[in-house]
Symmetry: C4
Subunit: 233 residues, 4 copies
């Protein structure tokens, strides 16, 4: 019954590797079927070359495996925490992509310096606080999810408007309304992070773009008055 | 009647992707037939993998579609503004290529640091002023074209001598006397921007090359006394 | 009798080239059979394209060739010094990979800035002191091994916990409990070095991650309480 | 009679493009037959994709074409100047490779920071002074060769010991005792330049390696006491 979903999640995980966002086993993609409350996620420590659809693990929202022989990704509690709090998020991608991870390691937000960013992220990309020692020692992966949720809520960020959060000292978690969209956002995030670093090299005093330009670019592609692309038929 | 033009514009748009200048739908190429006053441009939001010659949209210089089922690129008014003001420009390329965009985001011109630049651009590559709020809210894409025209005219730049302009907080628009030439200029622009950043890392005090060297390199490749390459037969 | 080992060492050396860690003849992989006290290593100055299993040289731990027509790598005395001092090390990789070498040339340790590093290296990656003139003039390659051993011992580093050492003004030597593992560590080292440089660009004041996070990530993948990956069957 | 030489020079020019050292027509390789006093060089402005052995132009040392229908590279007078002054140089490569060109544009020598450099270049890589206006206006390409010769002679550099010179505001010219060797040196130069920039990012105070280490690495690969590689048979 979830064969298509497993196929899609398998292909999506492989795509992360093909797009150069992950090497070895450093990343994962999950997708949720919100009606049936089922999450499909990559198994832990399986390389992208060997991954097959039947390896994808199905769980309920409390983390109980409902299908699959393998252990789910060790990051599963992080993904579940995001799904439980943001019902519009249909897919989550985690990577250690180089430039986005550099910001996460530097504990710095990614400021919006141009329309490439504004076309996909409605403002700066947040970074979480560092986890406390007790949050690391016990329930680390769930607490990683909780600090993402805390960060978005405190900053009043809707996860499909700014579909990424950098976990301090770790790397990006990226959201989407589908697996395809979440993967695309992860690619754009990496490109935006790289451009941001190069921009700061050219001019360390660069500041964020004006709100009017941010509104224009994000809203011409997203929301009810969007006019970018072809009319859906 | 415009089948060859549509074929060429389709192939040129695909080439932008193959040369790594654009990902997803972040860029476009247009070409003008100045005698017939017809512009051929990429449709909006169509991916480069799926693009076919029949998708290319034909418009007149006021933006009225004369052939094609699809919406033209949302950047069409920018392209038209350039063609209306610079009759020698036969093709326009827009990209978000990483290093050129870094300069656009940093609001910095690309200074001429060497002969690679001088072989293709007869001096520094300009950046526009930021658009005003009212220019963003209404007729944004046409105003983007107007600020490019304003910048070139104020700086007394001939667009085939310095065939690129960086739009502030956005990215490069590149010109050519043919689609092939505009694409080549977009590739060179990106390479020159990258070299410029690396040069500033080696020596932040680097200054522009002497006028005599700029003249020598640009004019041995362009204009009536050019002696680079093979004699045309 | 050592055919499999020679095959594996040959393939591993070729892999260094395929992963972009070495060009020309700038690197080598060796492996030890500790029971039989035999080391298999790449021959000197043979390109990776031409390398075949029968070219692999077998030596005893004092450096006496026991099989093979070719001269062993000029770095052989360095490898042997490591094997003689650290019996748990089963394979050694030497490269001049760009970013790790940048740290070696800068005489700087690679600080642990994030979980990508912590997943594979249990703390900062050390750099040796510079060799003295007399250590360079005589027995240079053996002295290179000695200064690696000296560095790890002084810093009380177990080579399978922090499986790399940067030789000052030279480049990385990387360790593993197998050829495959040593190669993987060399790839991760290069990626971690690159991320570290980008992180410092974003925030030059970045400091090392907390010990609790380092413990969590290293120990969930290594050691008796590891829970990452699939259970071995 | 020079068919093999033309074939080799054609393949060598194509290799420059394949190794990513040149794009479009930004570079060239020449080779000299010193006994017959004949130089073979790439024709001007011909793309590397279209280049064939029969396009290679043969000239004498005064620049008179002795075989070939095409105009020789516009850089020919530079190459000839080098051959006339340094009889041991058998091949010359010119590129605009990104990182080496960054140093040329920044008017900075490439300091020897490590053994990767020392294995191939016996000390820092020089940069010429800027050409005077009168040297640019008249006989520009010959004067480019003269300033290379002047730089090497003033610094007492033997061109096969430090087989590269950066021309100010322009890019590298690289030497070899064969086409293959000159191409290899051009690849190494670019890699060394990149590593040097990264090293300075890690530690802006990095200084050159000790003379003893420079001697050790260069001389174990070059000269009469070399012990790197296999014995020639």
């Amino acid at each position: 019954m979830f064969e298509e979903m497993k196929e899609r999640v398998c292909e999506g995980n492989v795509a992360l590797s093909e797009y150069g966002l992950v090497i070895f086993t450093w990343g994962n993609l999950s997708e949720i079927d919100f009606k049936k409350k089922i999450v499909a996620i990559k198994p832990s420590g399986v390389s992208f070359e060997e991954l097959e659809a039947e390896d994808i693990v199905l769980l309920d929202l409390r983390g109980k495996v409902v299908e699959g022989d393998k252990r789910p990704s060790s990051d599963t509690p992080t993904h579940l925490e995001i799904y439980r709090n943001f019902p519009k998020v249909k897919a989550v991608v985690h990577t250690h992509s180089t430039y986005a991870t550099a910001f996460a390691q530097a504990l710095k937000e990614i400021e919006c310096f141009g329309t490439t960013h504004a076309d996909h992220f409605f403002g700066r990309i947040p970074v979480t606080r560092k986890l406390l020692k007790e949050e690391i020692v016990k329930d680390y992966e769930a607490n990683t999810g909780k600090v993402i949720v805390e960060t978005l809520k405190e900053k009043k960020i809707k996860p499909l408007q700014v579909p990424a959060c950098l976990v301090a000292n770790h790397g990006p978690f990226v959201f989407g309304d589908s697996s395809k969209n979440a993967i695309q956002n992860a690619i754009v995030l990496e490109q935006v992070a790289k451009m941001n670093i190069e921009t700061l090299k050219v001019n360390p005093e660069t500041s964020a773009i004006d709100q009017a330009l941010l509104d224009k670019h994000f809203l011409r592609k997203h929301g009810k008055n969007a006019y970018y692309g072809q009319r859906l038929q």
